[in-house]
Amino acid sequence: MRAGRKLGALLVGIIAIAIAIAAAASAQTKATTITIESWRTDDQSIWDTKIIPAFEKSHPDIKVKFAPTAPTEYNAALSARLKGGTAGDVVSCRPFDESLKLYQEGYLASLNGLSGLSNFGSVAKSAWITDDAKTTFCVPMASVIHGFIYNKDAFKKVGIAVPKTEAQFWAALAKIKKDGSYTPLALGTHDQWEAATMGFQNIGPNYWKGEAGRLALIAGTAKLTDKPYLNTFKSLAKWRPYLPKGASSVQYADAQNLFTSGRAAIYPAGSWEIAGFTAKAKFKMGAFKPPLPAGQKTCYISDHTDIAMGLNAHSKNATAAKTFLTWVASPEFGSLYANALPGFFSLQTKPVSLKDPLAKTFVSWRGQCKSTIRNSYQILSRGNPNLENELWATSAGVLNGTMTPAQATSRLQKGLNKWYHPKKK
């Protein structure tokens, strides 16, 4: 068989090359190299060109490698690597339970006593702390803020002002639709999370009064069938006529491109979009915070703790990794990161001065409104069904009109009742 012989020769060749390379792999230089696990494939070039050079300049004995994994595979791949003993030294932490579980299983080390942690307040640390608030296991890096990004040119052309109340918001949407040149709201429901994250969690804090409502849910003194949640869904349901054509199959990337190509007027957003949108859009953009419901004076925004960094408990380079994490907790890193990635806001107590105008708008709301985080993240997504994924399904259902607001809230509460029983006061 000639084919076999040919392939055989190829294999012999491959083995020969392998042996040659193995022999050639001589002694390597012994500067400590630490590897960072992350889901932020988007940030590779920022780390390679800005952040890592800055660190290595002040720490010549430590080399840093940023090795991100595709975001959809990150949790699964990281967990397999930690269990298999091949994970990197520094690990990017998702907020709350995903990281807490890694700490409890012994894969993340305690960071108590790390000097830089004093640069963060208790709210910043709350997403990466044990339930008894005694042990912090990740250094907070950034939060993201929800709001709406709009096409300034479109607003000018249609002749509308930035809406401050919900009534103005709906009037603006109606006017854009009537004008017909733009899709009023660039939002789809195909990937489900956008409906919950940029819809429900975006406008909801105004209804459930931010932290007060969030903590009441956890304490069990409020229910998801209560007025605030029903009204959030009712408000969300009004978006339906203004969504793009075939919204139920519009994916996240479709909505992004619909907006940045100048064909939509308003994009329900998270601040993480700023850098990408600024690079792509050829029109002027502005941002406004979630419009106030009728009769309300105080505004609430979602300023969500999103990303942090921890130490692999089995790292062989723990000392170097700790040195790096101390640097991550420093004001130098805070400013570097927040400015390299506008829209990812520093969580350090000392404010970081930002250069990007859109990012400045978003962060200015911190001074005008009360901040909260997404209400499904702490504790309430621990069981099955978990509140976060239930919110995805119900928010998408309400936006698509396949579910009424009342059906949505009763399903959410039913799901929670199944496993969550806070002690009644």
Binding site: T72, S248, S249, P385, N389, A393
Partner: protein, 323 residues
């Protein structure tokens, strides 16, 4: 590359005198050569051991090592069949499981009733005597199978998007249409594989048999029914069971296009995506090694059942002809 001139037809012709017409004669049943064994048949070990060692080390051991976890809790305590009780008794799990299983059956039906007949038709057309350009067709039709599922998902989502594409209905966004649409996408992607399998069998059928039938006055349809079909029947079984196994392990396409939640509202959830969510978690939901192994065991039993049905219900009854 030059090859010896002997044609396979010639080779077959040389054995023809001893070989009877394959149309159902009992004399043609497979005869197994039994060398009289006096000493230990080392060569059998030589044939089997390399495959056995690699397969056992890198597949059976890791899988059984993980499957074992279905009898333990995540904390590592032995719990017997408790996890299975959870899977079938806790409505959160059982509902998702039966839902995924039902979708898997639909997914499989699409493949066996759409993909495999198309593949057979294409393979038959590719082997029609004297039709030119068969290698070109064979190559071009195969192209979709080599694509990464990432681009397949991307391009079909575009084509089927009311926003950019050629349709007005959001096929991937409606509960009623998502699964059939994804099934057809998968059929589009994979049809080349059964086509090649059928093709490999069809080209091995000696022309003489078909010519003989034609001389006897059989039309094309009759030749297919009484000559070709019996000869490819074993392969039809092989393809069906391979399709079954592949479909019940399927994951990539639905995960890439619809995400791990296989939306909308789990209307495209199959066992593969259900297993992934259970074992590895998703977003804020943590994965569970124990429940993951439990779901995998259930999938294993379902597929094993299908394979046993094939082995004892089909393969033993269908005649394989030597050609």
């Amino acid at each position: 590359m030059t090859l010896p001139e002997t044609t396979i037809e010639k080779e077959l012709r040389t054995t023809e005198s001893e070989q009877l017409d394959p149309l159902g004669s009992a004399a043609n049943r497979r005869r197994t050569f039994r060398p009289r064994v006096r000493r230990f048949p080392w060569h059998r070990l030589v044939f089997i051991v390399p495959a056995f060692v690699i397969y056992t080390t890198f597949m059976v051991y890791p899988l059984l090592d993980s499957l074992r976890l279905s009898m333990f809790s995540d904390a590592g305590n032995f719990v017997g069949l408790d996890n299975f009780r959870t899977l079938f008794g806790d409505s959160t799990y059982s509902h998702a499981f039966w839902n995924a299983l039902k979708h898997n059956v639909v997914f499989f039906l699409f493949h066996s009733l759409v993909q495999n007949p198309i593949a057979l038709l294409l393979a038959l057309l590719l082997t029609v005597q004297g039709v030119r350009g068969q290698a070109v067709y064979r190559t071009l039709i195969f192209v979709p199978t080599v694509l990464s599922v990432v681009v397949i998902g991307f391009i079909w989502s575009h084509i089927l998007s009311p926003l950019w594409g050629i349709v007005d209905t959001p096929y991937l966004g409606q509960s009623s249409t998502a699964l059939p649409t994804l099934s057809l996408m998968s059929v589009w992607q994979w049809v080349g594989i059964p086509m090649i399998f059928f093709y490999a069998v069809l080209i091995a059928i000696p022309h003489d048999i078909i010519e003989a039938a034609k001389v006897d006055g059989a039309g094309a349809l009759r030749v297919f029914r009484s000559v070709t079909l019996p000869l490819i029947l074993p392969m039809l079984g092989v393809i069906t069971i391979v399709t079954f196994i592949a479909n019940f392990n399927a994951f990539d396409l639905i995960y890439t296009v619809q995400g791990a939640l296989a939306g909308p509202e789990f209307s495209s959830d199959i066992l593969g995506t259900f297993f992934y969510r259970t074992a590895f978690g998703f977003q804020l939901q943590s994965g569970s090694d124990a429940m993951g192994a439990t779901v995998a065991t259930a999938m294993f039993l379902i597929i094993l059942f299908g394979v046993l049905v094939y082995m004892f219900g089909w393969a033993r009854r269908v005649q394989t002809y030597e050609m």
